[in-house]
Amino acid sequence: MNLKPLFEPKTIAVIGVSLTNNLHPANVIYSKNYLRYPVTVFPVNPRGGTLQGERVFVNISEIPERVDLAVIAARADYVPGILSDCIQAGAGGAVVVSGGFAESGRQDLQDQIVAIAREAGFPFVGPNCLGIYSPAHMDTFFLPSERMVRPDPGNVALVSQSGGILVDQMIKFAEEGVGLSRAVSIGNKALINELDFLNYFAQDTETKVIAFYVEGFGKRQGRDFVLAASLCPKPVVILKAGKSPGGSRAVSSHTASMAGDYETFSTIISQHAVVEAKNEFELVSFCESLSCYQQPIEGKIGIVTGSGGHGALAVDVCSAHGLSVPTLSEHAQTEIRKNLSSSVQAIASVANPIDLTGSAIDNDFVFATSYLSRRKEIDCIVVLLLPYLPGITSDLGARLSQVYQQEHTPLIAYVPHVEKYGMLVEGFELSRIPVSPSIEGAVLMAEALRRNKPC
């Protein structure tokens, strides 16, 4: 099935618009696409009439142009008929926003629409979903535009079983400056599921990282998913809900008790190079660092800091996650010290973490970072920046980014995220260097790069 019309339609039919209630989901979807996206939108309602001065079509078949995408927000009982009409009219695909299917006991109705679509090879997302957010193309979320927080266009595709979580994650992505290529709420995933989107985004040139919020895979679908993910050249990240054992089901074997649903999930996906985010915070951090660096690392971390305490905390997080912080050779230490500014030469610690102290200046950070970038025993550098130190300027973000451009050793920065330090943060982010607002987050970003391989 060709999913492209779902993401890049030129013509959209919104089926089920209300002639009287402008807050109806279909009306919100119609309006936002009509007003704000470069698409042609046609409202459909069997009663006809006009909406915002435009003709309402009584059926999709009456629309004079070929419809790329039909957005269906009518009552569940009408959906099978509408889907058949869409297929008849040659539409490219559909998003079924309507609820009232398997989630509310109407598995029969859901099976019916799947059968209709499958027979015709007609792709649809949902039912019971928000559908698709495709920046600069269109979106089918029934949320008024002015209420949504939209991350910058970027290279992370986010697929979610829950629409609410998806919209919430978009806020967090926007806050942390992580860009999205696409976002999809898949709802009941009756026809198109995680695996289909994994395969689609693996080919999508705008996407470099594929992230999922999963409540549970369908029967045996986890197996197919991980086998495909292990062949996918792009990093795959999953946040799983439902980690606690469900109910008090009597378990009569040790294996059934120890290989619980979540334990199995977590173990199997990591063996197939899928990066598991344990919570929302990790999801955003992992997506940010993987959107910058898609190559896995072994996890040999070099730490550059302006404070011993920051370095010590970072080492703790590294060791808790199985990342090593190799001590540099005597020779390397001497060379580093020799090149530091006179104010810190005598007082800096240079074994790794490299603690440049509160008297450090920009040049000290730049030298230490580029030196570590060239060491074989280091494959990722975490720079802990304290912007309030008198010798540090707001140019440092951009200067350190240049070190990465020259050396290509992944670089991750910690900078406290307050407005005052925004320029420093932007210096990194504009050059696609990930920045975390916490020390732990910065180390987790490195951890994501390590986990981006079978482990």
Binding site: G216, K219, G222, S253, T255, M258, A259, E263, I268
Partner: protein
């Protein structure tokens, strides 16, 4: 491919929902797993005679369709070294609910491991390997892979255990036979793939692993519900 004999063992256990230990052991041995020499003795003389044949010490376990957890009802005696003790065990077991005989088998030694299988809803057949014995759920030192296993999976599974040093020879002790463990795990995984539609989970616990063999000392096979089995074409 499942042999008729294996299918018969499963069919005969359907109603109970699990396979009696001697039958489970026979099933294991039919598929190439090593089990201790054993007999299902329904009379005490039969038990004594078998022990005489294989030599003491032996292990005695109660066989009862109503007892899934034998240790919990005092239904296991190890290290029996005389006819007298064996008769005593038989006598005591005969009072356990549903008594259907006594399993007598040779004592095997080694490091206790657990190999398990579970048919996971999302991932299908999954194989578990871990530190075995009665304390499995206390230590929880286990790892999992999707079946079918390749020989190299057995090696990587051992490495994933916290106790891997114990298995690889720790402080002068002999390492377990990795080739035997690999053979056991791959044969087990093949069995699980064949039984996928029929089982819910399997515990081979303990498997006694030493420097030259891995012996399945106990096996618990929990069957899938009637409905699933029916779909797999097992006659009622």
């Amino acid at each position: 491919m499942l042999t008729t004999e294996v299918r018969d063992i499963i069919s005969a256990s359907k109603e109970r929902g699990w396979v009696l230990e001697p039958e489970a052991k026979r099933l294991c041995s039919l598929t190439g797993l090593t089990v201790p020499r054993f007999t299902w003795a329904t009379g005490v003389d039969e038990a004594v005679q078998f022990a005489g044949k294989i030599g003491y010490p032996v292990v005695a376990k109660v066989i009862s369709p109503q007892v899934l957890h034998k240790s919990d009802v005092g239904g296991v005696v190890v290290d029996i070294d005389s006819d007298e003790k064996l008769r005593e065990a038989f006598h005591r077991f005969s009072h356990i609910t549903g008594f259907a005989g006594m399993l007598v088998e040779e004592m095997v030694s080694g490091i206790e491991l657990i190999a398990g299988a579970k048919i996971d809803y999302q991932f299908g057949p999954v194989i578990l390997l871990g530190v075995g014995g009665t304390g499995v759920e206390i230590y929880r030192d286990v790892t999992m892979r999707m079946a079918p296993l390749k020989p190299e999976d057995a090696t990587s599974m051992v490495r994933a255990l916290k106790a891997h040093q114990l298995l690889e020879g720790y402080r002068g002790s002999e390492p377990i036979s990795m080739s035997e463990l690999t053979r056991t795990m791959v044969a087990f995984s093949d069995l699980v793939m064949d039984l996928e539609e029929l089982i819910e989970s399997i515990d081979l616990n303990p498997i006694m692993c030493s420097s030259n063999k891995c012996v399945v000392a106990d096996a618990r096979i929990m069957l899938a519900t009637e409905k699933v089995q029916h779909a797999a074409g097992i006659p009622g």
